[in-house]
Amino acid sequence: MKEYIATFYSHFGAIRFKKACEAIGLRAAVMPVPRNLSSSCGTCVKFQASGEETFPEKNEEMEKIVQIKGDTFCKVYEAEG
């Protein structure tokens, strides 16, 4: 399993995505956005998935998804605008 973090434009978007993860059996938790990932102080979702093809549907409040690789983050998705 790979570990990912999804960031959002709102706390609401994060809660909705966490529920979407859990609905398809992915382990997910909401937490504050790590400082080295963003200067935003919002909520993110840390979740486990085998790959991008198993991600739940992205909602319109999602900002980006990164894969955790040790101490670094590797961007796998970014919303437009």
Partner: protein, 359 residues
């Protein structure tokens, strides 16, 4: 992670010491920093209200925004964004300010008042925490002001540019800018411009790097059991307290005066101290950060926060034009009505923007 907590604690300690030192250099007592009071003073200097005792363009505000802006530019984190319910944010800003001026201070000054021994601020802290809990209740019910969008770079640069204009107006002091007469009230008490500006710049950089937020500390503790941000909150109280005690010993003037009666720029009405800060705490959770954080975000190019700061400034003007702001004598009848209206308006905003069924 551990390093981040150490950094936040260190930043909090530095900010606490700077806050105490600003009083030594001339700021009003227990008001090394107060975002609400300083925005109110700036509103007065611009003639948006005519309370002669509180008119001065506070360089700390200018420094905070520019410090955050410089740190964001250096860290490639300056991003012009906006479009997330600006009118709602403006309205929330107005009422957060009215709550703060009922209490006589923003959340930042609340902790500096505690560090100065002002027991009335503990009622404020109680109300503030209660307001945050109410805000968190709505966050959990799906409250959102919807997403922000990318804006042209220039849109995000306007607010920092306005601060540079304020600095020029302060230095040039043209006749149309109002300044409190010497000995004329809190507006006349200030550190030298360069000291205030430097203090603002340092705190602005630190707050941008740490995401320090008076509301975020309690909010994250309740939402996530995450105590990173509250470390900064606690560090400011402890270091300002220590600095006050040391300054008192060195100068022979008491900077730490425990008690309730006769506290500087404060009143002893516990209920309204608590309700004022409850309104501020509730409104700030809905805004996503305290007044200090709104200034820092404005410096990072967030135009929604810039609109919020304009709301705070307008709120200060209303508070003094309509007799809503408290004084050392206590709250006013108009102020009490305004705080109750504010609690209702903020609650309505919270309900209308919560989407539990969709979550």
């Amino acid at each position: 992670m551990k390093q981040e907590k150490t950094f936040i604690a260190a930043a909090g300690i530095i900010i606490g010491v700077i806050s105490a030192a600003l009083v030594f250099f001339g700021n009003p007592v227990n008001m090394g920093f107060c975002i609400a009071c300083f925005l109110r003073d700036t509103s007065g200097a611009l003639g948006l209200h005519s309370a002669a005792a509180v008119q001065y363009i506070r360089p700390e505000i200018i420094g905070l925004v520019l410090g955050a802006c410089i740190a964001a530019l250096a860290g490639k984190e300056f991003k012009a964004r906006g479009g997330s319910a600006p009118v709602t944010r403006f309205t929330l800003g107005v009422f957060v300010m009215i709550g703060c001026l009922m209490f006589l201070g923003c959340p930042f000054r609340m902790i500096l008042r505690i560090a100065g021994g002002d027991g009335n601020a503990l009622f404020g802290l109680f109300g503030f925490a209660l307001g945050i809990l109410i805000g968190v209740f709505f966050l959990k019910r799906g409250y959102t002001l919807k997403r922000s969008y990318k804006m042209p770079w220039a849109e995000g640069a306007i607010f920092p540019a306005v601060q540079i204009a304020f600095l020029i107006l302060l230095a040039a002091a043209p006749a149309f800018i109002h300044f409190t007469e010497p000995e004329g009230g809190p507006g006349a008490k200030h550190a030298a411009i360069l000291i205030s500006l430097a203090a603002g710049l340092i705190v602005g950089v630190l707050a941008q790097k740490t995401r320090l937020c008076m509301v975020g500390g309690i909010r994250d503790l309740v939402l996530f059991r995450e105590y990173k941000l509250i470390i900064g909150f606690a560090a400011i109280i402890l270091s300002a307290l220590a600095a006050n005690v040391i300054l008192g010993t060195v100068t022979g003037t008491a900077y730490f005066n425990p008690g309730f009666a006769g506290q500087p720029i404060a009143h002893t009405d516990g209920l309204w101290n608590a309700l004022g800060m409850m309104l501020a705490g509730f409104g700030c959770v809905l805004l996503g950060g305290c007044p200090l954080r709104q200034l820092v975000l404005s410096g990072e190019g967030n135009t929604d926060s810039a609109v919020t700061v304009f709301g705070l400034m307008a709120g200060a003007a209303f508070a003094h034009n309509f007799g809503l702001a408290s004084s050392g004598e206590g709250p006013t009848a108009n102020g009490k009505i305004a705080v109750v209206i504010g609690l209702v308006v903020v609650a309505v905003i919270a309900v209308l923007n919560s989407r539990k069924q969709e979550a």
